[in-house]
Point group: C2
Chain length 321, copies 2
């Protein structure tokens, strides 16, 4: 019989991981990274890749990055030199080293390989409808960050996300991530998730596209942030439910969401933006402060199982600006 209450049994998880490992190994093997009809082996392709993505690397640098035996690598590079794919110049700093570069034809060979590999992946992605592609990327991203892929975080830069209006499913994401994150980070109880659910329910029910907005920040197809601009009165807008996923913090997404709200409120003719937050939410308070909001009221209260100090912030909008 299926147990009602979860026991922390690792065994099925271990099996799931191993099943996935077997599956994914085969999957990657089937892709073969564009070298099906090329004269390069997988290792050679990896070397070529690193050569194309580094500035004047040395052989030992490549060996370290790729985890290759120095002798093996030396032979591969020798072969490349013979084929005229790489050139080398002696290092000024260290007479033992050579600084390696791809020649014209070396770069051409890499481009060809790279284009083929991209095409393969594009075909694989193309077999999936758009929302499933997004789920796939999101899942890969999740695995990468959970298993600690430093370069996954590195690769995220300021232009790696986009803002878009809400779609089916997004409101649930907003509710769930508010509930889970505030429970985890501040120990708030389920009343908070309920409050958020009430807010989004109200938003969807009374949603007026001419007076209100929701933005979802998306990165690699995965939701990483949200903010709402709702009508508080004819002339006053309210900013609500600002959230940025921990793993996407530090990219300026929060500031961007707030700025977008302010810009839009001004455009829609509001005179003032108001918002309610808590004194413990330091990161959010900073964002409001830097966007020009001013603290106008403080109010201690007990909510979500904690003693909190609620704060009202306001930003006056000059219509002309």
């Amino acid at each position: 019989m299926v147990p009602i209450v979860a026991e922390l049994d690792l065994a099925p998880r271990i099996d799931a991981v191993r099943r996935f490992n077997r599956f994914y190994t085969r999957h990657v093997g089937a892709l073969n990274e564009g070298l099906l009809e090329s004269r390069f082996s997988l290792t050679e392709a990896r070397v070529l890749y690193e050569l194309a993505h580094r500035e004047l690397p040395t052989a030992s640098e490549l060996g370290k990055v790729l985890g290759l035996d120095a002798g093996y690598l030396s032979r591969i590079l020798g072969g490349f030199r013979k084929q005229g794919l790489v050139g080398s110049q002696p290092s000024q700093a260290d007479g033992r080293q050579s600084l390696l570069t791809l020649t014209e034809s070396g770069r051409a060979a890499f481009e060809l390989l790279d284009a083929r590999a991209r095409k393969e992946i594009a075909e694989m992605l193309g077999r999936l409808p758009e929302p499933e592609q997004r789920r796939l990327i999101a899942a890969m991203h999740a695995i990468g960050s959970l298993l600690g892929a430093p370069e996954q975080a590195e690769a995220a830069d300021k232009s790696s996300y986009l803002l878009r209006p809400h779609q089916p499913g997004d409101m649930g994401w907003v509710v769930g991530r508010h509930g889970a994150l505030y429970a985890q980070e501040y120990g708030w109880d389920e009343q908070f998730e309920g409050l958020v659910a009430g807010i989004v329910a109200e938003f969807l029910k009374r949603y007026d596209p001419k007076r209100e907005r929701c933005w979802i920040a998306e990165q690699d197809g995965e939701n990483v942030g949200s903010v709402f601009l709702v009508q508080h009165s004819k002339t006053v807008a309210q900013l609500r439910l600002l959230l940025v996923e921990p793993r996407a913090r530090g990219l300026g997404i929060g500031a961007r969401l707030v700025a977008e709200c302010v810009r839009c409120a001004r455009q829609l003719g509001y005179r003032k933006i108001t918002l309610w937050t808590q004194s413990v939410l330091h990161a959010a308070r900073h964002l409001y402060e830097r966007a020009g909001f001013e603290l106008v009221q403080e109010q201690p209260h007990r909510s979500f199982g904690k003693d909190l100090i609620g704060e009202t912030w306001e930003l006056k909008l000059t219509p002309g600006a």
Copy 2:
């Protein structure tokens, strides 16, 4: 500048996939599946694995499954035979084939390898806190089913899920999946997601653990179903928000959720369960019918951008049973 509106540009997704492939290849390579100090190569271990999981396979069967060259495999099997790890018996049906089995010591070798591999994965999982483990498994499952791993689906059987009470984040999941699935499958508009958000908001606000329940069905750490039992009146309970993810359908999860509601309502002393559904939701209606519910009222209405026929179903509970 970051674009406001999403354009369907594959390039960043392709890069994300390739980054993940590189990362995961290295990750799996680092795991080495328990054969670090064993006398087996990776391929030999894979052969051993298949031998341990099949009934009297033939060499060609193994070769097909593992994608190995027949000659290569023949040599590996020859080695195993020499070491006394596999035995073979001639096939009655086909004189060219031998039916392979692991000997005692072959099985022992496999068990050792298997235990080591499990231990490795367990250590990796152990480094993650419990909720992150669940996210990891969920993400792997998502990738597996998106890229079409038939055995991932196969492996799901009736005892592969569990029911548990709700946790932070679950309500958001319920809202989001209702919103996304009904939009996708029936074309309902965002008003429906708003309605669900309102229901869960109300549920959390008034939640009385003695009179009400929520069950979340979880599979490999991923939410795949939900149902709520809420108080309608002193003697009448209401079943709400029954949902099963498409990929988890056919495992009896829906029936199980309904049965759990009925059992619990009876135990809590309710005299009747009522529920509201729509005529187009055939699968759900079947479940209710088979659980003993009876259709007591029909009501055409226009909601969620569609013309629908709402239905009220009821189940009388005999207190003694």
